[in-house]
Amino acid sequence: MKTKAWRRFLWGMRDGMPICTGYLAVSFSLGIFAGSIGMTAFQGFLASLLNNASAGEYAGFSLIAADAAYVELALVTLIANARYLLMSTALSQRFSPDTPFFHRLLIGFDVTDELFGLAISHPGYIDPVYMYGAFSVALAGWSVGTALGIVAGNILPVRVVSALSVAIYGMFIAIIIPPARKDRVVAALVVISFAASFAFAAVPLFSALSEGTRTLILTIVISGGAAILFPVKAEEPEASGKGGERDAS
């Protein structure tokens, strides 16, 4: 039985709310940075609406401030956002053969760390309508937050901003822990990833790399190692694939 589209859209909005609040906090600070280099609230709003990338935008804004060449800006954006190439490749495997092509073009607009996490937190095929619901609140939070940061600088007390900013990590945890509980390999990978990421952030040689680059390197090395040592049996992740059905929990 297929649930009505508007209900699936609403579920997407509801599940997108932690992303929205997290984005508000993060983009707020991104906005403060954008304001400091002289961007207007509208420019910040537009940049965030069209880019949907924290690290990518931060890197981009730095280059705008430095009056860099367009090619340089394009290259840095490419490197800072390269991990989305992996995420989109993973998502490409989650489309039902029945899903019309234009959904791929639309879903591609907002593949972010968090929305990707949300998409893969549901087993089976992607439900584009559900994702659009999540996109709607996430895009609003991200772009409005950037503009607010530019306009107001400091509307919220620092304590509130820093408390809101962990919403995103709470969401990540809620996504990776349930599969880690069922699959020991995933559990071990989570622990290894935590440790390796901590080491990369603490060791000066690696911490000099941008966060996006570190994420990319660690993801490729750890996932690649796991894929060699513990290949997944065919069809495992897609076994329960039924587009359009999601429980409301």
Partner: protein, 105 residues
């Protein structure tokens, strides 16, 4: 700034979109290669884990108690998610944990 800010913004946007949409549109069929399949199965969990820790602690260069709220949020989040709490409850619990702990340090 000599360059046009809007041209900058659209350059960034074009690159960001192409990165995301190319794999989605070019890879239309199921990938059969066992290594690639396994790799793509593990990628999301590893990426999210890498981005969660130590970022949740905040600045690592600050003196110790500054990382405590994030650490408590991490532990609380793992415990709650392990017991089956959903995305929103876990996220809210982490925010509240950080807010409250901050009041005491």
């Amino acid at each position: 700034m000599h360059h046009n800010v809007y041209a900058y913004i659209f350059t960034m946007a074009a690159v960001s979109y192409v990165i995301r949409v190319l794999p989605l549109t070019l890879i239309r069929r199921k990938i059969d290669n066992p290594f690639l399949r396994s790799f793509l199965y593990y990628v999301p969990y590893v990426t999210l884990a890498v981005m969660t820790f130590p970022a949740i602690l905040g600045s690592l260069s600050a003196p110790f108690p500054a990382q405590l709220p994030g650490l408590i949020a991490l532990v609380l989040g793992i415990v709650l998610a392990w017991r089956g709490a959903g995305l929103f409850p876990v996220a809210i619990a982490c925010c509240v944990a950080v807010f409250l702990t901050q009041l005491f340090i």
